[in-house]
Subunit: 137 residues, 6 copies
């Protein structure tokens, strides 16, 4: 069993807020992250899959293929977007990095299963000090 990690990147705008609260209440909970005019990040995404090494190719999975899945299913939907208003799979969710990791997992999992390997981890670095990882359960 070998673990393979592909790194991809996207830049996006978001804000943290609860639509049932006032701007003042949101700022109390989320601080400057609640700014109604948005802010943004360069997100770094690491997707790790695990599987056996294919004896015919030496690969667990072709990294180009894995990269294409991540780009099509995730990066194309997030890069240079507003995560709150433009990303279908985050609709009606708090746009926290935690929920983003879970959302990305759900976007990727079906396609990665079709490669006959297992999705192991979705990790997102939002800033150099803050990172979130989801292992699917």
């Amino acid at each position: 069993m070998v673990y393979l990690t592909r790194r991809e990147r996207f830049s996006a705008a978001h804000r943290l807020f609860n639509s049932e609260l006032t701007d003042e209440e949101n700022e109390q909970i989320y601080g400057p992250c609640a700014n109604p005019n948005w802010h943004g990040h360069n997100y770094i995404l690491w997707v790790t899959i695990k599987g056996e090494v294919n004896p015919g190719t030496g690969y667990v999975v072709d990294l180009k293929q894995l990269s294409q899945i991540i780009r099509k299913k995730v990066i194309a939907k997030l890069d240079h977007k507003n995560i709150n208003t433009e990303v279908t799979f985050m609709k009606d969710k708090f746009v926290s990095t935690e929920n983003l990791a879970i959302g990305i997992w759900n976007e990727l999992d079906p396609s990665i299963r079709m490669l006959n390997v297992e999705l192991h981890s979705v990790k997102i670095m939002e800033t150099e000090n803050n990172t979130v990882e989801y292992l699917g359960k």
Copy 2:
């Protein structure tokens, strides 16, 4: 003459567009950077000053003091903000990294002169592949 560089960081939303053009025309010029719903970045800012070493302290300038100036004059105005709509010193400018570097230079220069040292460079990394530097002329 010694060069001293302080690194600071900010996360902000922006878009690139010309208000005299349509959304379609803007997208032709600026691509996904023109997205009317904004996107954002983790910007890294390096401010370099130059001066003689103070024989009484061993410092060119107290880095804490330099950091405070950068935070007060620049970071507080940019971090978790929308650069297009909330940053006075970028008003009526294209929010390119080039113009941001020039704008930051102009914000910092008067305060740094008061420390009796010279502002040498303002460098901004917008993504790990794109960096802009302005030397004041």
Copy 3:
């Protein structure tokens, strides 16, 4: 279950030595790390907690709160200090990175439990080539 990692940094002096041995014997075991005049490092600390996403906030835990705990319980005691002589929780221990990771775990664990999440990992990078991780058991 989501894993959240906060990075913090501290700069400190230390030396490795066994007080029951001579300087020569200590140098044989610990090499230049035994230097009686001290040396030091920029330590990077990653603290990972795990927990469920709070459906009301989208957070596992407020990262600002986590950061404040780490700064109060750990960074304030270590940053710009001599780990051998000034850090109560390392008293009478070998100041190896291994023991430092265990010591930091013990400092953090009670406060992190009070956030209703679990401390998962304390990881310390002493130099870019040497890293230690402790998972609490």
Copy 4:
């Protein structure tokens, strides 16, 4: 139980190909990685061992000793070499990063057992976007 990670680096040439296929077929499967004239990488290797902290030294294991084992058993055989033609432990294997991680594990495991600690992970970064990890099973 504490985990200790040592980072080492090596620069090497390789190509990906199946000797039973034509150059054209290899290029179809492996793309530019199949170039018969070779290409190369700066590989970063992280070796993680786990064990109890020795109460007499504060160490799980002397990192210098661990580094010497990695350099003797792995780096000396790989650095500035052609992995396909000069590395005995990769003979008759596809020179994928997956197989390289397994090969390095097998080179290191016996020596690391003699230190009375357990090899936990061999991780290789081939490019900043591609990383492979092997945990021994």
Copy 5:
């Protein structure tokens, strides 16, 4: 005048040697870099141009356009290649990083002039400890 830097990457094989010397003599001068079986690197390339900010776009130059020039003129010729045997612009030169920087400058300069900006610097990092920069004179 603003400086704009674009980072690109390529992985390639090479060796250092003087074709008029024996393998033994080459190894004496170039050490393991002379290995006749090749070795390789992940090269990082930073190309810096300088120019005035275009008042109509906010750009010195469109970074996508700059990136396309670098990819077409340089990366496509170097990535996953053997620099000694496959790269026309390095033919009959010692494949040192110094000569590679000069060669890349000469490949880029005419196209960058056509953008009405000036090529300022070509910088190549061969390993994390070794970097070369060429300023065109």
Copy 6:
């Protein structure tokens, strides 16, 4: 003219203080950096030389030779040392990064001249946010 940069690293203890002032006065000026019990850093040092490419070797200068000079003249004196009490070339100076850069320049310059190249820059990163560069005048 090509610029060649060699990176080296050292870990050392130091404190900032003026021996004519009291501990309280030193703490007012230098803050926690004045701690009489020392603190320390992982310093990163970049030494840049400039010169013509030697047509016989393709090198400006042999990087191994440059590295050996830096290690012998600088790293051996600083690594795992107390810069205030053990480093002859810093004797009776404030151990600021500014003075350290000037001191390292003076240690290196004569040996580098003997290689028939010119020392261009000594740059020291003390923490990831603070960097000092000295160009020799």
